[in-house]
């Protein structure tokens, strides 16, 4: 049964991946990419890598692809001009493809990465927590690369803000502190005046 599930998800994954590059509508392509991520997460689950699987969904499907979808939806891209050179460059593309496939067959062939060359990992006990193991490794053995990666993210934030934040003079903006500090006396003035009499 597990094999059946594996083949089902693999088939969906390959189909979705194919549709990502062949779909005419970019929004469809992005949604197929989401499907591809989702099915690969399912495959990881089958490999007992539940942390990676869920994080893939959480980060890629839940956040990255949403932003991607945002951009693609707002751009309203017309793909026709992008496809103009397709036939002209096709021979070159096919040539490169053939070369890459040949190389892959030669290099990543069964000789090195086949079923015989790799030992089948043992099934883990039910209480085995992939998350806990990964966490322990990440904060002990791999603490240095982990920290460097966090610095890279920090730089990305700093760079993004440095390149986009503009303080334009004259724009109106809310100062919440002042709003909260406002009291009745500043806003309302009660005026006492004599009642008017209508003239007869």
């Amino acid at each position: 049964m597990e094999q059946a599930i594996f083949y089902f998800f693999s088939a969906v994954l390959i189909f979705a991946a194919g549709m990502v590059i062949t779909a005419r509508n970019p929004v469809h392509a992005v949604l197929f990419l989401v499907l591809a991520f989702f099915t690969s997460a399912a495959l990881w689950l089958l490999l007992e890598a539940e942390f990676l699987a869920i994080v893939l969904v959480l980060v890629y499907v839940g956040a990255v692809m949403v932003l991607f979808l945002f951009v693609v939806m707002m751009l309203d891209i017309n793909l026709a001009p992008l496809r103009e050179g397709f036939a002209r460059y096709l021979p070159v593309g096919v040539l490169v493809l053939a070369l890459v496939v040949l190389e892959m067959v030669l290099v990543v062939g069964p000789r090195l990465f086949g079923a015989e060359a790799v030992t089948v990992p043992a099934r883990q006990a039910a209480e085995y927590s992939n998350t806990e193991t990964l966490g322990e490794l990440l904060y002990t053995v791999y603490v240095y690369p982990f920290e460097v990666a966090s610095v890279i993210l920090l730089v990305a934030i700093v760079a993004a803000i440095a390149l986009t934040l503009r303080r334009r003079p004259g724009t109106l903006k809310q100062e919440v502190g002042r709003q909260v500090a406002a009291n009745r006396g500043e806003r309302v003035r009660l005026v006492r005046m004599a009642a008017e009499r209508s003239k007869r």
Partner: protein
């Protein structure tokens, strides 16, 4: 019998799982139906009105009548809409709302999938909910719907971060990602529940939950006075009903999670109190959970009747500039407390 049911063997596994799913989804759907009724009643009383009282005794059959009406209505697809995605939108909205329930325990040992990474699974599933709204908004090919989809998307992504950080606090306190174990880690008394040591996170989580479900006062995505009804403006009949279901199922989910993570789940509030504990020992845990969920759901309705709608930029400001810093600071405080073994929670 019960033991066998919880640990089936062989081909019966699938059947048992199916039964469990039905046993969870049917009450959930019923709950959604009567939540809509409760909403109308509660808001009515808060407005000093009576609310629906015509269909059935005291209006009790109102939700059934509403459901029947929606089922009978024609499904309209706008001619310029993207047909497939238009129909896919509601499905993408309800699927994660229901899937998330797979790991939610409704009592001790009463859970469909008791997985170790339950909390992460929940985060992943709730983060998927935004697709239904975005896809529906875009596929409708309508300006209002599209604007709403953009608003909803941005809002949900922003609040998810604060929610995620709040959950980090919970898992630090419980030392586990498994929801059942998180509940069991709160044993002791009402003061042992995580709402007390994690008070800021508790508030942030619940308010973010309100924002995440696009409920008032964070309902700019629906904002009927500015963008009519937002992403489901073009939907009718069952497709609209599915969105409705998803929104209310999400509300119940958030309320349940708040109860599980911060309010002791199915644990009795009288635990550790000499006389009362024995007096209420007969009440099953599920009832306690249900009561707690009802309290939080009432808060949802209460908010709606009380607060004016936030402006969009204020929503963003609250999420990014208030909630995220608060959660980060509290995670540090909590880390220090855990390190110091501060009792009675972290020893």
């Amino acid at each position: 019998m019960f033991d066998w049911f919880m640990n089936p063997e062989g081909p019966m596994v699938l059947v048992v799982i199916l039964i469990k799913i039905i046993a969870l989804v049917m009450p959930l759907m019923l709950g959604v139906a009567y939540l809509t009724f409760a909403e109308r009643k509660v808001i009515a009383y808060l407005h000093v009105r009576v609310g629906p009282n015509r269909v059935g005794p005291r209006g009790w059959l109102q939700p059934i009548a509403d459901a029947l009406k929606l089922v009978m209505k024609e499904l309209l697809v706008p001619s310029a809409a993207n047909r497939y995605l238009f129909m896919l939108g509601p499905v993408m909205a309800i699927a994660p709302a229901l899937t998330a329930w797979a790991v939610v325990p409704v009592g001790e040992g009463m859970v469909i999938a008791d997985i170790n990474a339950g909390l992460l699974f929940l985060l992943a599933m709730t983060s998927m909910g935004v697709y239904g709204i975005i896809v529906a908004g875009w596929a409708s090919n309508s300006k209002y719907a599209f604007l709403s989809a953009m608003r909803a998307g941005a809002q949900m992504i922003s609040y998810e971060i604060a929610m995620g950080f709040a959950l980090v606090g919970v898992l630090m306190a419980a030392g586990s990602l498994n929801l059942s174990q998180i509940v069991m880690a709160q044993q002791g008394s009402i003061l042992h529940w995580f709402w007390l040591p994690l008070l800021p996170l508790f508030l942030v989580y619940f308010i973010s939950g309100v924002a995440e479900t696009n409920r008032s006062p964070f309902d700019v995505a629906e904002g009927e006075s500015e963008i009519v009804a937002g992403f489901h403006v073009e939907y009718s009949g069952m497709a609209f009903a599915v969105f409705f279901l998803a929104e209310y199922a999400n509300m119940i989910l958030i309320a349940t999670l708040t109860a599980l993570l911060f309010a002791g789940g199915w644990l009795s509030p009288f635990q550790g109190i000499p006389v009362l504990e024995g007096l209420f020992a007969w009440v099953p845990g599920t009832i306690w959970l249900l009561l707690k969920v009802c309290v939080f759901l009432f808060c949802f309705l209460w908010f709606r009747a009380t607060f004016p709608r936030y402006r969009y930029d204020q929503i963003m400001r609250l999420g990014w500039k208030v909630f995220i810093p608060v959660t980060i600071v509290w995670i540090f405080v909590e880390g220090a407390a855990v390190l110091a073994g501060l009792g009675p929670w972290f020893d």
